[in-house]
């Protein structure tokens, strides 16, 4: 599938031989992690890792056609599962007056909230990458996007399923048993070859932005069953129907946000509902300086009864984003996710700044407090500080 798409892409490129701009870009990142709570069961305090991401871009036909190829590769000191590569993008975009097509491997983001990306479902999570679960694997797709006066309507045909990546037993943080991807089971008899589909409509009503979406196909979030006597996890991927709504309302410095989903089809669980509702308030020019302060408050809710199914059944997110607006584009974001029922707390910190014109450094931290009987108990001793230096070329 992948190679056929590549062939189509290259065929289209060679049709228009005039040597228009082919452009290479790239970045290399070096990451160091320090686990502040101790060496853990894996027996190490710190871990280093590096990644390389390239990007080949080409535009032709007066920017009506665009080709992007983005390969990614990471090596990790301790976890062979985190040493992995992926084609993040290999996509041809064609633009007509009232529609756009995107064919190949790509990435799509849906959603408005910060705490949880509930509605976002097109791409599988590349979970070995970062704790925030925002890294995604490239998804094969045929996407038709219609832009009309009544909104933007996107249709997706998604051939080829990507399995979620999991840290190996030597990785930190990781599950206590290995996840055997080769033993993955699917609700669909077509297994990973099932062709999934999705549709999303988005429109602006003045200051209100509304989006409705539906996904029908193999769920991105597996259930993990323990297999005896091998003592390993085997992922099970159900076929689900997921409907989502996104709302955003802009009022002066206030940005009110809401996302909600209803997911059904998993025969091991009933239908589940989840929502993330909140606001972001921005104060520009804080204390007479050029800094902007953003306040983020969200309430995260879901109705899955099983405390092990989700750590975020009724939680509050509080956070501040401080944008320094300086030459180095310094940013600071801290957040607290707090469960008022159990007292569980997750503290996160993200800060970054530029050095020169080609370097950027980020300092991140993640700390867990008062973790009880919940999925978080797996990471309770995985508090970490992470420094990453990225060089762009």
């Amino acid at each position: 599938m992948r190679w056929r798409l590549l062939a189509i892409g290259l065929g289209l490129l060679t049709d228009n031989v005039p040597a228009l701009a082919w452009e290479w870009r790239g970045e290399v990142g070096l990451e160091g992690r320090y686990f502040t709570a101790g060496p853990g069961a894996e027996g190490y305090w710190h871990n280093s890792s590096a990644y390389l991401q390239g990007q080949l871009l080409h535009e032709w036909n007066d920017r009506r056609d665009l080709f992007t190829f983005t390969p990614f590769f990471r090596v990790d000191e301790n976890d062979p599962e985190r040493t992995h590569g992926d084609i993040r993008e290999l996509i041809w975009i064609h633009v007509a007056d009232q529609w756009e097509s995107r064919i190949g491997i790509g990435k799509v983001f849906w959603g408005v909230t910060e705490g949880r990306h509930l509605v976002d479902i097109i791409n599988q999570t590349d979970a070995v990458e970062q704790q925030d679960m925002e890294s995604k694997l490239g998804q094969p797709m045929i996407n038709l996007s219609m832009v009309r006066s009544w909104g933007t309507l996107d249709f997706y045909v998604l051939p080829g399923f990507r399995q979620r990546t999991y840290a190996g037993v030597d990785g930190r943080p990781s599950l206590p048993l290995p996840v055997e991807a080769d033993a993955a089971r699917y609700a669909s008899s077509a297994e990973e070859n099932r062709i999934d589909g999705a549709v999303r409509w988005q429109h602006m009503f003045g200051s209100l932005q509304l989006a409705l979406s539906h996904f029908s196909g193999t769920g991105r979030e597996p259930l993990l069953f323990i297999r005896f006597p091998e003592l390993q996890y085997e992922p099970y991927y159900p076929v689900i129907e997921q409907s989502g709504i996104e709302l955003q309302y802009l009022l002066g410095g206030w940005l009110f946000k809401a996302e909600a989903i209803r997911r059904s089809g998993n025969r091991f669980e009933g239908a589940m509902r989840a929502a993330d509702v909140g606001f972001e308030f921005t104060q520009p020019g804080l204390w007479g300086t050029g800094m902007d302060m953003g306040w983020i408050v969200e309430y995260l809710w879901e109705d899955r009864d099983d405390p092990f199914a989700s750590a975020l059944s009724s939680d509050v997110l509080l956070g501040n984003r401080l944008t320094f607006n300086d030459i180095a584009s310094t940013e600071l974001l801290w957040g607290l996710i707090w469960d008022p029922d159990t007292g569980e707390r997750i503290y996160t910190l993200e800060s970054s700044r530029r050095f020169g014109s080609q370097w950027r450094a980020t300092l991140e931290g993640q700390f867990y407090s008062r973790v009880g009987r919940s999925p978080l108990s797996l990471v309770a001793d995985e508090d970490l500080i992470q420094l990453e230096v990225i060089r762009y070329f």
Binding site: Q98, L250, G252, P284, G285, G290, D292, N325, I327
Partner: protein
Amino acid sequence: MRKILAIVLTVFISSVCLAQAQTAEEKGLEIAREADRRGEGFGDYEASMKMVLSSRRGDRSERDLRVRTLEGKDGEGDKGLTIFDTPADVRGTALLSWSHADRDDDQWLYLPALKRVKTIASRSQSGAFMGSEFAFEDMRAQEVDKYTYKYLRDEPCGELTCFVFERYPQDKYSGYTRQVVWMDQAEYRVHKIDYYDRKQSLLKTLSVSEHSQYLERFWQPGRMEMVNHQTGKTTELLWSDYQFNTGLSESDFTQNSLMRAR
């Protein structure tokens, strides 16, 4: 057409009336309308911009951007797309703005690493654009109705004579109480703007120079320098490669278009 007719009528009526009958507010508005009228009909343009940031200590930093603008039709405001090429860590980041005469502008920022389009809260428009001395509101299309006006005096500016007038932002989230504008009487080009902050003190001065004429009609600045008097920091914008009538259309200024801005 009706708008032009209205302006023609306004000009006609105001020239019929005795000059003394016109208040300073009316004259200020008339100048702004005339400047707006002269800028009408450009259709679309693309340009490159180099932004040079200097701190009081003399640290310098450069950014390269490309700007695409589509003129609004039927009373709609202009639409703009700004794409960042350097510094490398923000490469591919793009800003889409739809200006509106009668309400807050819509602005969206595209973050390429996350493939995410984020709405910018309108109050943030007084915030700094890319860490520069230009606020978001300085970068957007200056629609006539976004201000009220007051003509002050005529004053020589270089070899030309300038109108000097004040304008008062109507947006309650603007970072300014007033702006004093120097605009030449020959071609209605902005030469200088003094910006006064919420405490009525002089915050910044913009100097505009190296104007060039395109399509034998439209004047565009080649160099804009913003000096922040309170911090000593300076930002220079150096414009180049202006191209008009490049065939841009509405579809180049949608949230979809942000995601493919390169």
